[in-house]
Every structure is written in structure tokens, then in C-alpha cells.
Amino acid sequence: MTKEEIMNRLTEIYREVFDDASISLSEEMTADDIEDWDSLTHLRLIMQIEQQFQIKFTTGQIKNMDNVGALMEQIQILTDKKQGE
């Protein structure tokens, strides 16, 4: 999956989770940049990403997702791994 594809699908998920169609993501974006991004919405994000990409993050991966770029990187790793199987 290309970076662009991941970004597109992720944007879609963010828009749905935050119920805000105007969100556009950048790799540097952190929780401070979106007003409603608290621990609960973070959990919903994770749940929805796992459901949509059919992957499962480890505790460490979720803990270390400091910005959107880091999140994309983890998705990349997990989907590549899945494809390889």
C-alpha cells in the first residue's frame, strides 16, 4: 500500500471519528492540533484503524504514536507484514 493510499484512508477515518469533513492530515500533526483528540477519541481511532486495515497494533506501537507520521509508519509495517504472509 502506498503512502498516499494510507493517508487517504486515514483522512477518511479521522473525518468520521471526529465527525468533521474539513479535517486534512499532515504527517507532523499531533493530538494538540485537533481539539477533540483526547484519550477516548484516540481509542476510537485505533479501533477503527484496526477494523478498516484489518491489523492489530501492539501496546508499544500505540504508546509511541506521537504524530500522524508515526501512525502511518506503523500501519505501513503491519499491512506489509500481512501482505507478506
Binding site: E12, R44, Q51
Partner: protein, 610 residues
């Protein structure tokens, strides 16, 4: 990945926003991401109504997601409530402090969601039974104390308390199920104590049952636990909150009381209008027939617990009723059905008619019909009726109806189940209580009834099937086509007989076949087979008795039996010898007229004639 099936990005976003505008009830309970998103949006836009009821949720683990989804579900059900969310790990803190924010909120409903981690002391290894029981009592007493503290402050509040779900880890392995002091045993014991000492103002939420249905492997999500103290995988948030919602609705009297069932391909296979009451698929020896019978048995259980049954079928009334009166395998009887509607009108009008006749609201009805068109119509025009999604395979009907959990009542009263009915059921159960010390006594108490009949049009298929698929109890293992069987049945030379069996527990249908060839005054048993489901019940003796009767009537001088060994039929190697035949070598056995009375024909099977 499903990348290719999506359109371009803007299309996809459009689909998403469509989804988010949907109602919760349109979303399957397992689409957890959508449920969480929709609930979030609904709660954000919630308008607080000042006179709405108040509900407090106190839990040991994280409850924010639970509160949000429950809040949204109740809103959608037209019962919006105001919520109090307990402190994290605040079960005892909130309850035992009479000045807590929980009490000043003055809830009408209190939901307690404890976990096995609330039990502070588990039995030690090797703790003896009395000690374990004592500990369970005191663990339960702690909860009694919480209940009464709430009740003292809020005498009108109803309390819902989840029971305990076993921990995932089973450090004792298989021994968890062998020793009384294991953690899992202890959790079960505490759950039982809770049931026994439950005050009237408390209802237990059977989350243990839910977790069991799902399986502990997926129920718990350790990652979510360590990250945010979710007590279970949020994948099941839909089912979890739905259970609570149903109970809250039941508390306010909103329950389903009546099951409306279709007939053809719903409680039996095939169309009775085409095949007649005996042609429907309901034979206990046919796997599909057995599936329909299992579904009928489940419906009978619903009836026993007080659910009203109604039939709504597109059929001529007389055709539709005939199986109930005449098909011997029907478990549902006419008297079980409180309202029977079979005609060619549309089902929407018929369901309204049934509601009127039974004097209940259409909103208390559940509809089960194999036909997707009928389901869609009822959903469209009577949205208040709960329409169960019916799978294609009748084997899964029980699962479908059961997992819909439509009849989630808060209590069952004597009035519900009806006094006379209970009386009949109790008496029957008493009659069925088996108490025996020998195998003969056991057989005697089974109250077996046998029927030995010549093969006819109704039984020829089953007869052929049994002969062709039986390998073990089969003396000669000949295989025949149905046409061959029919030809033999039509000829005077042959006698084709089937034994059917019933006992106090079930009707087995046809379970043994015999083909007799009358060769002058010799009666040759060319074929004899029996289903392995009914071994060791003396059916061979009963069948032998009937063969001898027939031979005596026809004036036969002797009966000749034959055993052709195969890899699989060793069990009947000595059958003829044991029955009293004389071996003549080469697998041939003879019983002469003079020996008829010596043959082993005693059995506990009472003869039933049609």
C-alpha cells in the same frame, strides 16, 4: 485490502458520511467502530430533557465508552436518560460514602459493573470445601452490603448488577475444572451466591452468559486493558450495551411477548400445500428434519417460559393445520398456538389481526419467517415488530432466534407460564424421572413403544435410505434402489417390514428394516438392519417376535437367517445364534417351527398398532 472496490476518495468519504447519519439500530451489533462513532455524535448533540429519568453507572473498569453507547441506544429507543458516570474504580467509594456525588444525583436506575478483580481474596491452594464456601459467602455478602447501602439511600431505585466473568488465565489448567478452590470455580460460586441472595430490587445482568457465547479468547483484549483499562474488548460494546438497554426497556414494561412464526420451511421443510402433512421434512432420521425438530423444541421451550405463540402462514387453513393434528413428529401442537392465521392475505395485515385478537401491541411481537420478502415487508410497514434475520440453513434457526435475545424479560411470574400448563409439565417431568438400579429397570422405565409395519408409500424412502446407509447392524449389507424396494414391496413373495420406535423422551421414527422372502414354507431373512442410535434396547428381540408372528400366520416351517461378514458388521456376527437359531455353517442359521417358542423375543417394548 479492499482498495479496488472503493471508488475515488471523495466517493468514499461520501459513503462514510452516509454511514454516520444512519441509526444505531441499522448497524450490526458487531460493527463496533460505527457504533462508537454514531454514539459519539448522538451524545454530543443530545438535548437534555429535565424530566427524563436518571441513571448512574458505576464500574470497576473504564466505563466511559459503555456509558456513551448505552446513552445513545436509550435515546434511539425513545427513552433518553440523564447519566452519572462513576469514578474510575469507584464502586465502593461512591456507594459507601453517603455524601458522594452519586447519591446527590439521585438516580432512578443504578448499574453496577464489577469484575472478578473486585474479589480481593481467592481461596488458597488446597483450601477445603467448607472454607471455599465460606469465602464465597463473604464475597457475596460484601455485595449485599453495597445493595442495601444504595437501597437505604435510594429506596425507589432499581439496581442492575453484572455478574462476574471468569478470568482469562487459568493457571491450574484442566485442574480449574477439577478442584473446588480454583479461581474459575470460585467465580462461579460467587455468581451462584448472588442469585440465591438477590433482593427484589436487584437484577443481575448476565454478562457472563454473553462472554461465554463470544468466548473468552476474544472477549478479553489485553492490549486495550493495559492501555486504557477496558474490562473487555470494545468489539463487543454493541452486544454489551444492548443487553443493558433491553433490561432497562423491560423495566419500563417494554418487552416482547409473542413469537409469530411462519410454517413452510420455517418449522418444517417443504410446502405442506404441495406435499401433504406427511410429506413435509420433519423425520427424525433426516438431518434437515432433525434441524426443524430442534427448532420446534426451542419454540416449545419459549412457550414453556411464557412466550405466546402465533402462526402466520400463507396457506389454506386446513392444509396448514393438518400437520399439527396428524404428523406424528410434530412437537408443536395445536393447543400451543394461541392464534393461528393461515390464509392468502398479506402478512402485515395478518400480524395486525393477530395482535388485535391476542389483545397485545404489535410492538411486543417478534416475527420469524424464512422468506426474506415477507421479512422486508414487515420491517417496512410494522417497524415496531422485531424481525429476526433468518439464515438459509434450518440447522441455524435456533442460533438465530436465540442470539436475537428478543425475549429479555426482567422476571417470569407464575401468571406468565400459566398454572395449568405448569401442572401438566411438572407431572410429565415427574413421570420421566428415571430411577433404576439395573439396565432392565432402565429399559422398563424408558416406556418404549414399537411399531412393526409393512412398508408403504409413506415409509419407502426412509426404508431404502436406512438399508443403504447402515453398515454395522446389517446382516447382509445388500444395497437397493428405491425402485427395487418398491418392486419387492409390490410382490407377494416378499415381505418388507419396518420397525419404528418411540420412548418417553423422543420419537426415533423408523430405526430397523427387515426383508423377508417367502420361499415355499421357508421364510428367508434376506436383509435385516438397524440404526445404531438405538442399539442395546432389545429392538432385535422385538423385531424377532414380530417376524415369528408373521411366519406363524403364513404357516412357515422354518426361518432362515444369513450373516455375510464385512469389515464393519462384526457386531451382528452372533445375532442369530443369540436369538436361538441353529448355526449350519457358512453364515447360515435356521430356526424351525418347533423352536419358535424358544427364540429370544422378550423385550421392554410395548407394541403399538396404528
Amino acid at each position: 485490502m479492499t482498495g479496488n472496490t472503493h471508488g475515488n476518495t471523495s466517493d468514499r468519504i461520501w459513503q462514510m458520511s452516509e454511514k454516520i447519519r444512519k441509526n444505531l439500530s441499522d448497524i450490526p451489533l458487531d460493527d463496533y467502530a460505527s457504533i462508537l462513532n454514531i454514539a459519539d455524535r448522538m451524545v454530543k448533540n443530545k438535548k437534555i430533557v429535565s424530566d427524563s429519568k436518571k441513571i448512574a453507572v458505576l464500574g470497576t473498569h473504564s466505563i466511559q465508552m459503555i456509558v456513551k453507547v448505552l446513552d445513545a441506544m436509550l435515546m434511539e429507543a425513545g427513552l433518553p436518560m440523564r447519566f452519572y458516570e462513576g469514578e474510575y474504580n469507584g464502586l465502593a467509594m461512591d456507594i459507601l460514602d453517603s455524601h458522594s456525588a452519586f447519591y446527590s444525583f439521585r438516580p432512578d436506575i443504578v448499574i453496577l459493573l464489577p469484575s472478578y478483580t473486585d474479589i480481593k481474596e481467592y481461596p488458597n491452594m488446597m483450601a477445603d470445601e467448607e472454607r471455599v464456601r465460606e469465602m464465597a459467602r463473604s464475597a457475596s455478602a460484601f455485595f449485599q452490603k453495597l445493595y442495601s447501602a444504595i437501597h437505604a439511600q435510594l429506596p425507589n431505585a432499581h439496581i442492575f448488577c453484572s455478574n462476574l466473568i471468569e478470568p482469562y488465565a487459568r493457571p491450574l489448567g484442566n485442574l480449574e475444572g477439577n478442584v473446588f478452590y480454583s479461581q474459575s470455580c470460585f467465580v462461579s460460586l460467587v455468581n451462584l451466591e448472588w442469585i440465591i441472595y438477590k433482593p427484589d430490587y436487584v437484577t443481575i445482568l448476565d454478562m457472563r452468559g454473553l462472554a461465554e457465547r463470544i468466548g473468552l479468547d476474544s472477549w478479553y483484549d489485553s492490549t486495550l486493558w493495559f492501555l486504557s483499562k477496558q474490562g473487555f474488548s470494545l468489539k463487543y460494546i454493541g452486544a454489551y450495551c444492548n443487553l443493558m438497554k433491553q433490561q432497562i426497556l423491560a423495566l419500563s414494561g417494554r418487552i416482547k411477548k409473542c413469537l409469530v412464526i411462519d410454517l413452510d420451511n420455517t418449522i418444517w421443510g417443504g410446502a405442506v400445500g404441495d406435499t401433504g402433512y406427511n410429506g413435509i421434512v420433519l423425520e427424525p432420521n433426516d438431518p434437515e428434519g432433525e434441524a426443524f425438530l430442534a427448532f420446534q423444541r426451542y419454540i416449545c421451550q419459549l412457550k414453556e417460559r411464557g412466550v405466546i405463540l402465533a402462526v402466520c402462514s400463507k396457506n389454506d387453513e386446513q392444509n396448514a393445520k393438518e400437520p399439527f393434528e396428524k404428523n406424528p413428529y410434530m412437537l408443536l401442537k395445536s393447543e400451543d398456538i394461541s392464534c393461528f392465521v393461515a390464509n392468502w392475505d398479506d402478512k402485515v395485515s395478518n400480524i395486525s389481526r393477530i395482535a388485535e385478537e391476542l389483545n397485545i401491541g404489535t410492538d411486543s411481537m417478534v416475527f420469524f419467517d424464512d422468506n426474506p420478502t415477507e421479512r422486508a415487508l414487515v420491517r417496512r410497514f410494522l417497524p415496531e415488530v422485531e424481525v429476526v434475520e433468518v439464515p438459509e440453513d434450518p440447522a441455524l434457526y435456533v442460533n438465530a432466534l436465540d442470539s436475537a435475545q428478543a425475549f429479555d424479560w426482567i422476571q417470569i411470574t407464575k401468571e406468565d407460564i400459566g398454572r395449568t400448563d405448569t401442572y401438566v409439565a411438572d407431572k410429565k417431568r415427574e413421570d420421566l424421572k428415571l430411577d433404576f438400579s439395573s439396565y432392565d429397570e432402565y429399559l422398563a422405565q424408558l416406556q418404549m413403544c414399537g411399531r412393526f409395519c409393512e412398508v408403504d408409500a409413506e415409509t419407502v424412502s426412509r426404508f431404502t435410505q436406512l438399508l443403504n446407509k447402515t453398515n454395522q447392524f446389517n446382516l447382509t449389507t445388500n444395497r437397493y434402489s428405491e425402485a427395487q424396494i418398491q418392486a419387492m414391496a409390490d410382490s407377494d413373495e416378499y415381505g418388507l417390514y419396518a420397525t419404528a420406535l418411540k420412548d418417553a423422551f423422543s420419537d426415533y421414527g423408523i430405526i430397523a428394516c427387515v426383508i423377508l422372502l417367502f420361499d415355499n414354507e421357508i421364510c428367508r431373512i434376506t436383509d435385516w438392519c438397524m440404526s445404531c442410535r438405538v442399539l442395546k434396547k432389545d429392538i432385535e428381540n422385538f423385531t424377532m417376535k414380530k417376524i415369528i408372528e408373521i411366519c406363524s400366520q403364513r404357516g412357515c416351517g422354518q426361518i432362515a437367517g444369513k450373516y455375510l461378514p464385512t469389515k464393519k458388521n462384526q457386531m451382528v456376527k452372533n445375532l442369530y445364534a443369540e436369538l436361538g437359531f441353529e448355526a449350519c455353517g457358512n453364515g447360515q442359521f435356521i430356526l424351525t417351527k418347533e423352536q419358535f417358542w424358544e427364540a429370544k423375543t422378550k423385550s421392554f417394548i410395548k407394541e403399538e398398532t396404528r
